[in-house]
C-alpha cells in the first residue's frame, strides 16, 4: 500500500500548515489568555502568577456583573423571541399564502446586513427626540413614551429587538425548509383523525423538527456571546454601562483601559459561557449517534 501512504503524505503535507495555524492561533492564544488571567498583568502582560486575584476583582466589579447578567437577559429573550417569531412566520408562510416569495425576501433581508448597520438603523429609529416617539407625539398622542434607548432599565431590550429583527429571518428560513420536508402522509393522517391544523402543528409537526430547533438555538446562542458590534453601534453600552455585554467589556478592558489581566479573566468567563451553551448540544449529538 505504498500508494495509500503516499496519498496520506500529501494529505498530511496539505493539512500541516492549517493544523499549525489552528494550534497556534486558536489553542495557543487561548492557553495564553487563560494563563494571563492568573497573572498580575496590567498595561502590559506580566507573567507573575497571582492566583485568582483577577477573578476576584472581576466579580467585585459592578460593571462586569451588569454585563454578565445582560448576556443572559439578552440571550434568553433573543433566543426565545427569534425562535418564536421565526417559527410563527414559517408556519404562516407555509399555509400557501400569496406573494410568498416577497414575504420571504422581506423577512430575510436584514440578515445580510452588518450589526453596525443594524445598530445604527435602530438607534435612529428608537431615538426619543428624533425617532418613533417624537413621530407618534407629533400625530397628537402627546404622552406617548418609547424611550427605551435612553432608559437604563430598558436599553438592553432595544438590543434584543434589533437582534430579533436581524436574526429571525434565518429561523424562518430554516424552519420553513423543515416544514416543507415533512412527509405529506403525516398531514393526511392528521386530517383523517380530524385534528385541527394548529393542533397538528403544535403536537405533531413541530416536535418532528426538534433537531432543527436545536440547530437554531445553537446558532442564536453563538450570536449572543459574540455580540459586540451591535452594542457598539446601538447603545455603546449605555446609558452608563446599563447595556454592556461581556464581548464589549473584554475589548474595553484590553484596549481602552489597558488592563490585560482583567480582559483575560473576562474573556475566560466568556469562553466558559460558550462551553456551557454548547455542552447540551454536543451531549445530544453524541447520544443520538
Amino acid at each position: 500500500m505504498v500508494g495509500a501512504l503516499g496519498r496520506n503524505l500529501t494529505s498530511k503535507a496539505v493539512l500541516t500548515p492549517t493544523i499549525i495555524a489552528m494550534t497556534v492561533c486558536f489553542y495557543g492564544c487561548m492557553a495564553w489568555t487563560i494563563y494571563v488571567s492568573f497573572t498580575r498583568s496590567g498595561m502590559l502582560p506580566n507573567y507573575d502568577l497571582v492566583g485568582l486575584a483577577q477573578y476576584d476583582r472581576l466579580w467585585g466589579d459592578n460593571r462586569w456583573h451588569v454585563s454578565f447578567a445582560n448576556m443572559f437577559i439578552f440571550g434568553v429573550l433573543f433566543i426565545t423571541g427569534a425562535l418564536a417569531l421565526g417559527t410563527l412566520l414559517a408556519v404562516l408562510i407555509d399555509t400557501k399564502v400569496r406573494m410568498e416569495g416577497a414575504f420571504r425576501t422581506i423577512f430575510l433581508y436584514p440578515l445580510s446586513m452588518s450589526f453596525i448597520v443594524t445598530g445604527l438603523a435602530w438607534r435612529w429609529f428608537l431615538d426619543p427626540t428624533d425617532g418613533l416617539q417624537s413621530f407618534v407625539r407629533s400625530l397628537g398622542w402627546e404622552t406617548f413614551e418609547f424611550d427605551w434607548l435612553v432608559d437604563r432599565d430598558m436599553a438592553i431590550y432595544t438590543i434584543v429587538i434589533a437582534a430579533i429583527w436581524q436574526g429571525s429571518g434565518l429561523i424562518m428560513a430554516i424552519m420553513l425548509a423543515g416544514l416543507r420536508s415533512i412527509d405529506r402522509d403525516v398531514w393526511k393522517a392528521t386530517k383523517m383523525d380530524g385534528i385541527p391544523t394548529w393542533r397538528a402543528y403544535v403536537s405533531v409537526i413541530l416536535p418532528q423538527l426538534q433537531p432543527l430547533v436545536i440547530t437554531c438555538v445553537v446558532l442564536l446562542a453563538i450570536t449572543v456571546v459574540k455580540s459586540f458590534d451591535l452594542v457598539v453601534a446601538l447603545t455603546n453600552g449605555g446609558p452608563g454601562f446599563a447595556s454592556d455585554l461581556p464581548a464589549k467589556f473584554v475589548v474595553d478592558a484590553a484596549f481602552e483601559r489597558a488592563n490585560i489581566g482583567q480582559a483575560s479573566a473576562a474573556a475566560v468567563m466568556m469562553l466558559m459561557a460558550v462551553i456551557a451553551a454548547l455542552a447540551p448540544y454536543f451531549y445530544l449529538v453524541r447520544r443520538r449517534s
Binding site: N62, R63, V150, G238, A242, F255, E256, A258, N259
Partner: protein, 414 residues
Amino acid sequence: MTRKSVLLGGAAVMTALLPAAMANAQTADVIHWWTSGGESRAIGVFADAFEDAGGTWVDSAMVGGQAARASAMTRIAGGEPPTAMQWNIGVAVQQLAEEGLLRPLNDLAEAGNWTDNLPPLIVENATHDGNFYAVPVNIHADNWMWYSTAIFDEVGVEPPETWDDFFAVADQIQAAGYTPLALGGQPWQESLLFRTIIIAAGGRDYYRQVFVDHDVEAAGGPQMVEAFELFGRLRDYVDEGSPGRLWNEATMMVANNEAAIQIMGDWAKGEFNAAGLVAGEDYGCHMAPGTRDAYVLVVDVFTFPVLDEDDATAAQTMLAEIMMDPAHQVEFNRHKGALPARLDADAGAIDACAAIGEQIVSDPDAQLPNMALAFSNDVEGQVTDLVTEYWNDPSMTAEEAAERFSDIVANADS
C-alpha cells in the same frame, strides 16, 4: 548606531540643519481625539505647520479620548505605534514612560529650555526620573460653566455661584420651558460634572485629600456623600435626549439657546468660537458653581513612542518642535479655547473667559489635578463606572456610592 546616538543625531539635524531636514519628506501619523469643529481647527494649526515644513501629516483622529487611547495601546501592542499620540498629562503618561514605551525628549527639552518655560506642575508631570516624555500644548480646566446669555436674560437670572443658587436658577429656567442643564450622557462627561461638584461640596483642600493624597477615609466622607446627593438632584434638570450625546452636541444646545447651562472644560469655548459666537455677548462663561477658587487642570500633551526608523524619529523631533513653538501654541489655543502651556507664549488680546481663567490659575493653590493627573486610566475607569452607575441608577444611595468611591481609592495604589 545606538538609539541614543540616533536621537541625538536627529536632534542635531533639526536644530542645525533645519532646511535640510525639511527637504526629506517626513511622515507623522498622529493619534488624537480632536474631532469637534473647534478642535479640528486647532489641530489643523499643527498639521498645517508640519506640512508647511515639508512633512506629511497623517491624521489618526478617533472620536473620544477612550477610543483614541485604545487605538494607541492596540498599536503599541501590535508593534506599530504612531509617530505621536495625544494623552492627558498624568499617571498614564508616567506609566507609559515607566514601561519604556516613550521616547525621552531631553535633548529637545534642554535645547528649548522647557523647564523654565513651562509651569512647574506641568514639568513635574511631563517628566519621569528626570527625563522629559511629553510635549504639553495647552492648559484647560474642567470646571467651567457655559451659559446662554439669551436664556439668562429672558428668564432674568444671574450665573449661579453655588449649587443652591443653581437649583433656584434652574427651576426658573425650566419653568420658562428650556432645558436647564445640557449634559452629554457619556460616562466621562458625567464624571467631569461630578468632580466639579466634589470641589463645591468639600472645598479644594478636601478635593486634594482625595485626588492627590488618595485619602481613603476622606474619599468616603460626608463631603463625598453630599457631592453625590447634589449630583443626583441634577437628574431632574437634564433632557431625555442626553444619553450618548457628544459633549460638543451639548455645547451646541447652549449655543442655539435650547439649553441654558453646560458644565464642561474650556474646550467648549472652541466650539462656541467655531460657531461664530462671542464670549460675554452670545454666551457667558463662569467657573462652575462653588469652584471660583479652583482650576482643575487638564493638560493635553503629545507623547512620542520609541520608534526604530531614523525617518520616523526625525518626524517626531520636527513635530515636537512645532508643537512647542510659542507662536504655534498661541494660534492653536485660540481655536482650542485653552491657555498655552508655555509661559512665554503671549496670547495677546484674550477674551473675557480666558481673562477669568488666567487670574485664577495664577494662584498655585487654585491648581487642582484632574482625573488623569490623579489616577491611572484603569482607576479612572473604575471611578467613571461608579459615577455613571450612580447617575443612571436613582435607587443607589449617596452613602453607598461614597463608600464604593472610597473602596476604589483604597485599591488605587495597590
